[in-house]
Structure formats: structure tokens, C-alpha cells
């Protein structure tokens, strides 16, 4: 047990050193920007991973929560000229409230029906962003979202923002890890394996599913907040159905029920489009092919798949 704890602490340490080293050594603002996006996507994937990987409930509408976080802070800071630090708790509260209202009837469904229910919700929220012009700015969105500041310290440089985002990622990782290792985490995994069985041993599955849905929505809301203040411009296109699917893909490609898998999936799917720009017209074809091939060859996701290959070769050569 203590060796497990030691390994966990060590992995946080290595992670933190890697982030600090990247922040200090990289001077190219484009790379810092890409790394910041990886951080934001990691928060999204971590949140969805709690819901999909651990509790076994699918959501095809997570971009709605991402968007709600971004739009709340945009409206409060641009329209009402309030401080972003006031907007953050408001955004989180709103997202949690919406997740509660939507989750209450939707989480009774399962399988494709749950997928379609959340997809429908995501679509409706996206249409609201696009059509409710007086509040959301319509198709042209919001411009001039102010950068974050803490007293005299400004996060407007890409290096400072990079640190801010990755600190949030680290906090989210610790939060998720602690939750998974607790009694709640075990209950969640029992829902994943069999909802009836976990009900039979006294887990309140309805409440637990709702709570993990709200947690995962809250993380998406935080990601939306970070996105809005980083890019300083938001439009409905950033929060549509395709984005919801992309978050699910991050979780599945990385490997479900694995925190580092979510991180890996988010990095891969953020970097892939950047690399594929070279293919210009063939970009979509190559992207689709890679997605299919990874899933055909490693249906358990990258982390589990690579571990399997490692263990197999270990057995073969060291026995």
C-alpha cells in the first residue's frame, strides 16, 4: 500500500517537474499556446472520464457545459463589467445547477438512450447560444473578454496562463484521484460493473450518478472559463456537437477509467490536428483513418493497450 502511495506521489512530482520544465524552457509562444489548449482539454477529458470511465454513463453533450462556463464569464465580464474572479463561482454554480436539472430525468436512461438524451441537450444549448442574440451575441459571439489578473499580477502573457491552466489541471487530477480512491470511487466503479448489484448492496445509484454528472459538468465549466479568458473571443461554433464527440473521443482513445489516459487522449487529439495541417485536403481523411485504426488495434485505449503490449513482451522475454 505504501509503495502504491509512494508511486502516486512520485508520479505527481514527475508531472509537476515536467510542467515547470516545459514552462521555463519553452519560449515559443505558439508551443505554449498549444500546451495551454492541451491543459484545457485535459480538464474536460478528466471530468468526462469520471462520468464515463468510472461510473459508466455516457454524455454526448459535454460541450454544452463547456460553453455555459465560457458564456457565463463572458457575459458577466464584458456585459456587466464584473471581475472574472466573481464570474468563476457564478459560472460553476450555474453549470452545476443546469447539470442537476438536466441530469435528474436524463440519468434514468442508459446506453444509447442516455447518449441521445445528452446529445439532444447539447444541441439545444448550442442553438440557444446561436439564436439568443440579445444575450449571447448570436453567431458572431463575444469579443474582448478581459485577461485574468490577480492584484498586480497579470496572466496575460502566455507563460503565466500556461502555469495557471496546468495548476488547475493538477488540482483536478488530485481531486479526481482522491475521489476514485475513496468509498465514493468504489461505489462509482460498482455502478459501472452492474447498477443492479450496486443498488442491492445499498449504493444510492441515482444520487451518485447525479453527483458525478454535476462534478464532471463543473470541471467542464471551469475549462470553459479558462478557455474564454485565454482566447478572449468565443462563438457558438466552439461548443457544438462535434466538440462533444471530440471530448468523448479523448477519453476513449486515452483509455477509459484512467486519469493519465485522459491526459494522453487530450494531448493526442489536440496535437493531431496541428500535425495534420500539412496534409491540407487530405487532413480529414487521415484524421478519420487514425481514429479508426487506433480503436481497431487498441480497443482498450492507448494507456491500457500500451501496458498490455509491454506486459506481453515482458512475459515473453523475461520468463
Amino acid at each position: 500500500m505504501s509503495s502504491k502511495l509512494l508511486r502516486k506521489t512520485a508520479s505527481y512530482g514527475i508531472f509537476w517537474i515536467a510542467v515547470a520544465a516545459a514552462g521555463m524552457s519553452i519560449d515559443n509562444s505558439y508551443y505554449l499556446q498549444v500546451l495551454t489548449f492541451i491543459g484545457i482539454h485535459s480538464i474536460l477529458a478528466l471530468g468526462l472520464n469520471m462520468l464515463m470511465g468510472y461510473a459508466g454513463q455516457i454524455s454526448l453533450g459535454h460541450a454544452a457545459f463547456y460553453g455555459l462556463g465560457a458564456y457565463t464569464t463572458a457575459i458577466m465580464t464584458v456585459h456587466y463589467d464584473l471581475s472574472p474572479w466573481l464570474a468563476l463561482p457564478c459560472a460553476i454554480c450555474l453549470v452545476i445547477l443546469v447539470a442537476f436539472i438536466v441530469g435528474l430525468p436524463t440519468l434514468k436512461l442508459s446506453g444509447y438512450y442516455l447518449g441521445m438524451g445528452t446529445l439532444g441537450f447539447g444541441m439545444i444549448v448550442h442553438i440557444i447560444f446561436r439564436e439568443w442574440t440579445s444575450v449571447t451575441g448570436g453567431a458572431s459571439g463575444y469579443v474582448g473578454i478581459p485577461p485574468l489578473e490577480l492584484g498586480a499580477f497579470s496572466f496575460s502573457s502566455s507563460r503565466n496562463y500556461f502555469y495557471l491552466v496546468w495548476c488547475t489541471v493538477l488540482i483536478s487530477i488530485v481531486l479526481c484521484q482522491r475521489l476514485i480512491d475513496s468509498r465514493i470511487g468504489r461505489a462509482l466503479r460498482s455502478i459501472h460493473d452492474s447498477e443492479h448489484a450496486s443498488k442491492a448492496v445499498g449504493v444510492n445509484t441515482r444520487n451518485l450518478k447525479l453527483q458525478v454528472f454535476m462534478l464532471s459538468a463543473a470541471l467542464a465549466g471551469v475549462a470553459g472559463f479558462l478557455y474564454a479568458h485565454f482566447v478572449s473571443f468565443i462563438s457558438p461554433g466552439t461548443f457544438d456537437f462535434i466538440v462533444s464527440i471530440r471530448i468523448v473521443t479523448m477519453v476513449v482513445i486515452g483509455g477509459m477509467a484512467s486519469i493519465w489516459g485522459a491526459l494522453l487522449g487530450a494531448s493526442l487529439l489536440t496535437l493531431l490536428p496541428e500535425w495534420l495541417h500539412a496534409f491540407s485536403d487530405f487532413e480529414m481523411i487521415v484524421y478519420g483513418l487514425i481514429l479508426m485504426l487506433v480503436m481497431i488495434i487498441l480497443p482498450q485505449g492507448l494507456t491500457r493497450g500500451i501496458l498490455d503490449i509491454y506486459e506481453r513482451s515482458h512475459k515473453k522475454y523475461f520468463k
Binding site: 464515463m52 459508466g56 455516457i58 430525468p105 436524463t106 434514468k108 436512461l109 442508459s110 446506453g111 444509447y112 438512450y113 447518449g115 441521445m116 438524451g117 446529445l119 439532444g120 441537450f121 444541441m123 439545444i124 442553438i127 440557444i128 446561436r130 439564436e131 447498477e195 456537437f241 464527440i245 468523448v248 473521443t249 476513449v252 482513445i253 477509459m256 485536403d281 487530405f282 487532413e283 480529414m284 481523411i285 487521415v286 484524421y287 478519420g288 483513418l289 487514425i290 481514429l291 479508426m292 480503436m295 481497431i296 480497443p299 482498450q300
Partner: protein
């Protein structure tokens, strides 16, 4: 009154197309318990291949129709053999991601072959619109209804009267039992893919004259078809038909009486309503499996 009738006509036209797409989803779900997120792209391919064969190569329409359907079905078969069957331990969500990948892939192919332009084709026949109680019905709408009607009746006949169709249904009910009585279940899955993508191509062909065809028309059509299949009851042939028409008519009335910008919102609101009140769909089907 006249206005409402006009909306209903356009709703029935769209509804027939949604129904054709929904039937494709249901067919596949029945025999493989798989939702093919690339289904909309097969609709797109159907429409664009027809545009090429009919308008550019000047083939006669019936010939172009059949060549298109068989080309797209052939692609569906290839897709099943190369991408779906090769997965070793298929978890439903993994298969979903593979079909999402396929949908991006096919959209890429569409963009490469046809570019980013929109194409349109003339109506199947050049009769004048028919006027009923002051509302006009386009001849193309009749074509759509007739073609969807014939395909669905043919499918019904196939499932009820032919040995192969009964074997497919047996596979859908219980794969192992079907296998024990000597049915080649893998062939049946292949056949399901053939029929499902074929229906997708038919939907694409009949929608071509009333919309602008481009490489990205498939996604929304696919989602609407999925929506219709869920409304009616996933896996049920007649349920898909009902779901499609219901979706089309409600959407058309919503657009007519409220606002056209809310068109897609209405479809999904209807879906959420049905999911909350009657999760199995209108024609309630067997309890669905969870992931």
C-alpha cells in the same frame, strides 16, 4: 388552414426522408446492436454519386438510381469487413468511436472528390405542382413518398415472407440460438449493413432534388434520422416510419408557426420529451442494453 396544410405537406416530405434514414439505423441496430454514426455520410454519398451519374455522366435516372444504391451498399460492406469486424473485443463505445472516425473519413473523401461546392439536381419528373385545398404539393414529394413506401413494403415483405429475412430476424432476437439452428450469423450482419447503407443511399437520392447537396450535408441528416429512430422505437421498422413522419411534421409546423432558426431545437426537444416520458419510443421495444 391553407397555411397549415402547406406546412403539413412539407413536413410529410421531410418526414419520409427522416423515416428512410431511421429505417437504416433500425435495421442495423436490430441485427448488430450498433449505432452507425457514419450513416449520415452514406446518405451524403448517395446524393453526390447520383448527382455525378445523372447530371454529369447523363445516365438514365433508373440506371443511375440502382448503380448509386449498389455502390453505396458496397462501401457499407467494405466498411463492415474492414473496420467493424476486425475489432477484437468490441465494446459498444469503441464501435461508436470507430463509426465517428469513419464519418470523418467519408466526409473527407466527399470533400476531396466533390470539393466544397453545393450541387443541385432537377426534380425526377417535370409535372406541375398539384394544388389541394389551396396548398401545393410538389411532384417530387410524391416521388419521395412512393419510393419510401415501396422500399419499406419491400423490407417488410423480405422480413416476413422470405427465409433469409426470417433468418435475419432470428439473429436479431437471439444470435446464439440462431447459430445453433444453422444460420450463418456473420453473413446476416453483412446483409444488415448492405440493407442499411442501401436505405441510406435511397434517402440521399430522393433528397437530392429538394436540397443543396454538399460534402457536409450528412451529419445533420444522420442525427435527425437517429432522432426519428429513437422517437419511434429503436429497432422497429414501423416505429421508424412513425418517428420519421412525426419528426418531419412537428418540425415543419414549428418552423411555420414559430421561427425557422429553431428548426433543429424543435426536433431535439421532441426527442427529450419522448425519452423522458416513454423511453422505449412510441412503439415500445424491448429494454435496451446499457454500455
Amino acid at each position: 388552414m391553407q397555411e397549415a396544410l402547406q406546412y403539413v405537406f412539407s413536413g410529410i416530405t421531410n418526414g419520409a426522408i427522416y423515416a428512410a434514414i431511421a429505417v437504416g439505423f433500425s435495421l442495423l441496430y436490430n441485427s448488430t446492436e450498433l449505432i452507425n454514426f457514419a450513416h449520415g455520410e452514406f446518405v451524403m454519398l448517395g446524393a453526390l454519386i447520383l448527382v455525378t451519374l445523372w447530371n454529369i455522366f447523363k445516365l438514365p435516372l433508373p440506371l443511375a438510381f440502382f448503380i448509386t444504391v449498389f455502390t453505396v451498399s458496397g462501401m457499407g460492406l467494405l466498411f463492415e469487413r474492414l473496420a467493424i469486424r476486425t475489432v477484437s473485443k468490441p465494446h459498444p463505445i469503441v464501435l461508436v468511436i470507430i463509426t465517428v472516425g469513419a464519418s470523418i473519413f467519408f466526409r473527407g473523401i466527399g470533400m476531396l472528390l466533390w470539393g466544397k461546392d453545393s450541387y443541385s439536381v432537377p426534380s425526377f419528373s417535370d409535372h406541375a405542382p398539384i394544388t389541394i385545398f389551396g396548398a401545393s404539393l410538389l411532384p417530387q414529394s410524391l416521388w419521395i413518398l412512393v419510393i419510401v413506401g415501396i422500399s419499406v413494403c419491400a423490407l417488410h415483405f423480405f422480413f416476413k415472407k422470405t427465409l433469409t429475412g426470417k433468418a435475419m430476424q432470428a439473429c436479431a432476437i437471439n444470435k446464439r440460438a440462431a447459430r445453433l439452428s444453422g444460420i450463418h450469423s456473420e453473413k446476416m450482419v453483412l446483409l444488415a449493413f448492405f440493407l442499411s447503407t442501401g436505405m441510406g443511399a435511397v434517402a440521399g437520392i430522393i433528397i437530392a432534388p429538394i436540397t443543396m447537396c454538399s460534402y457536409n450535408m450528412g451529419t445533420m441528416l444522420g442525427l435527425k434520422g437517429f432522432c426519428a429512430a429513437m422517437l419511434g422505437g429503436l429497432g422497429s421498422l414501423w416505429g421508424s416510419l412513425i418517428g420519421g413522419f412525426l419528426l418531419g411534421i412537428v418540425e415543419a409546423l414549428g418552423v411555420g408557426f414559430f421561427s425557422s432558426s429553431l428548426k433543429d431545437a424543435i426536433a431535439f426537444l421532441l426527442l427529450l420529451l419522448i425519452l423522458y416520458m416513454r423511453p422505449g419510443g412510441i412503439m415500445r421495444v424491448k429494454e435496451v442494453k446499457r454500455f
